[in-house]
């Protein structure tokens, strides 16, 4: 085989691999939307109906408890995590610390970023047992916030790094303090920061392993901050193993709600990024 034949062979292979990846992904999204959409369209009230008393056995009622639980857990968790993540990312900018120390913090963040979500779940549950509490909405929030923190920090850090150096030098040149400069840098990097926060929200709303043991896995409506709750991914996980067809259909309907929410969030993050781009220096519109 001459070198041009090899070249053609590998180009074809690369194209085939890409087609395969895209094809498989279209299949996954397509099956979820078709199957879930069908399950949901035949009974749209599922999303707004609280579960009945025999929910896991017979699938009476709907899964409003999981929809509400997801929002009540991931919403507050995102806020807490956002505050911490943006602060850490600003700190890593090394106006406040030495390069050496930010390298060390960065190393720990990388390890946290790669830590399996189930470990956060086990950790929070261990704490729950140690302090003698019981699993609840509150500990679900804590677990998700811990899970989101390294993800959001990484996105924010990347956004801040890509902000032009001139923002920093010119604000310092005007006599700004470090804090004022940091505010300007965050503003210049706002599209990336917002996109990162929304990605963190999307990852948090889709994760099951962290909340499986910490939020309580309940089949009732969430009753309060220290009452058990559940989320959509947990509901999908539990319902998919059921032998009752009705309960299984709820898993598909819930997966439709979840995938639409995640895809919607990503589209929103792209749109917002475009909108906030006017703060970025060098963009005039």
């Amino acid at each position: 085989m001459d070198r041009y034949a090899t070249q053609r062979l590998f180009e074809t292979l690369a194209r085939a691999a890409t087609a395969l990846v895209v094809g498989v992904m279209v299949l996954v999204v397509g099956v979820t939307i078709a199957r879930g959409g069908w399950a949901l369209l035949s009974e749209p009230s599922l999303v707004f109906t609280p579960p009945g008393s025999q929910y896991m056995l017979e699938g009476d009622g709907g899964f409003l408890h999981a929809v509400l639980g997801s929002l009540l857990i991931v919403g507050p968790a995102t806020v807490v995590s956002m505050v911490l993540a943006v602060s850490t990312a600003v700190y890593l900018q090394s106006d406040y610390s030495s390069d050496r120390f930010s390298d060390i913090v960065n190393m720990f963040l990388n390890v946290l970023w790669a830590t399996p979500p189930i470990v956060y779940g086990v950790f929070v549950l261990t704490v729950v047992i140690a302090i003698g509490a019981r699993t609840s909405l509150f500990f679900g929030i804590v677990a998700i916030a811990i899970f989101q923190y390294p993800i959001m920090t990484r996105y924010t850090d990347e956004a801040l790094r890509s902000a032009p150096e001139t923002v920093k030098t010119s604000t310092y040149g005007l006599g700004a303090t470090r804090f004022e400069t940091a505010r300007m840098t965050v503003r210049a990097a706002l599209p990336g920061v917002i996109a990162g926060i929304i990605m963190g929200f999307a990852r948090g709303i889709g994760d099951a392993a962290t909340v499986l043991f910490t939020a309580g896995r309940s089949t009732n409506m969430p009753g309060g901050l220290f009452e058990p709750a559940t989320t959509l991914p947990i509901l999908i996980f539990d319902n998919s193993m059921s032998f009752n067809e009705e309960v299984q259909a709820h898993a598909y309907a819930a997966s439709f709600v979840l995938i639409v929410a995640v895809l919607g969030l990503i589209i929103i993050s792209k749109l917002l990024a475009g909108r906030f781009a006017r703060y970025a220096p060098g963009v005039h519109r």
Binding site: R3, T6, Q7, F10, E11, L13, A14, R15, A17, T18, V21, M25, L27, V28, V29, V31, T32, R35, S87, T88, Y91, L92, Y96, I104, V105, F108, V111, L112, A114, T115, P116, I118, V119, Y120, V122, F123, V127, A130, Y149, P150, T177, R178, F179, E180, M199, I205, G206, D207, A208, A209, P233, I236, F237, S240, M241, Y252, S255, L258, I259, V262
Partner: protein, 309 residues
Amino acid sequence: MSDSTLSNASTRVSRRLRIDRLSQYWLQFAGYFAIGLFVLIVATLVHRSLPLLAEYSLVQLITSSNWDPAQNQFGFLPAIVGTIYVAVLSMLMGTPIAILTAIYIAEYAEGRLKVLVSSFIDVLAAIPSVIFGLVALFVVVPFVGNYLAPAVGSSATGLGIFTVSLVMAIVVTPFMISLSVESLEALPAELRESSLGVGATKWETIRSVLLRAAGPGIFSAVLLGFGRVFGATIVPAMLIGGQNQLPDSLFATGQTLPTLIVNDFGELMSLPITQSALIFVGLMLVVVVWLFNFGAMIAQRRLRRRWQY
């Protein structure tokens, strides 16, 4: 300038400086938070694993294949073997595809198609893994159970090690693609131009120049993907079948370390020693992932020196 404006200006400056100092305390806290969180997690897991390690030796735990918490038998071997099978198999399936796709996106695709394909793959990295699991129950499990396993002469229900590996390969591929594309695109254009300039074909340039120069980045993408599969919980829990036995074929049901936690945590939490055993599983996961990250860092540094340009 009158006295009053002067003192006004100086109070304003001191106020700004005070805010600056306060912000320093807060941001320093945020910086230490990352380290503190990690240390706290590891310390808690170690502390809670001690009761188990006090009663059984480490060697005994990881070489025994008898897992029966009710009888105080804690053998992690089936779960460890299952985890390694799944991780290795899915990397074997996922890595070549991921690298070829990354090459296509970084080197072949152009214009709108490139933007379309690469943003599509970024989006996919964010799809919840529970959805992959659900779709797999509907599509992959019947396929493996009815066609693939019988074709190689194995009778299986479709749940098992192979199914999990296949689905995990699908889950991590977009992740590895994004990281590999990033390191390929970070290469300077002169590398391509000079290689093409001395008469190499495009493929020769990719194989002997670009893949080497981006090698450290691609290598660490693969290691991070490996770590992801290693700690994956939901997909294995849905598809592996949850049998605590040493797998005798690729299509056999089994157990991975994370599914051990999922399957046993609920009912057995009341027994302190079982609780300790499951927390020890968490500790093992953290340590392995930590080693992988550390290994990726060192390998990246060494490869960078070896394949420098």
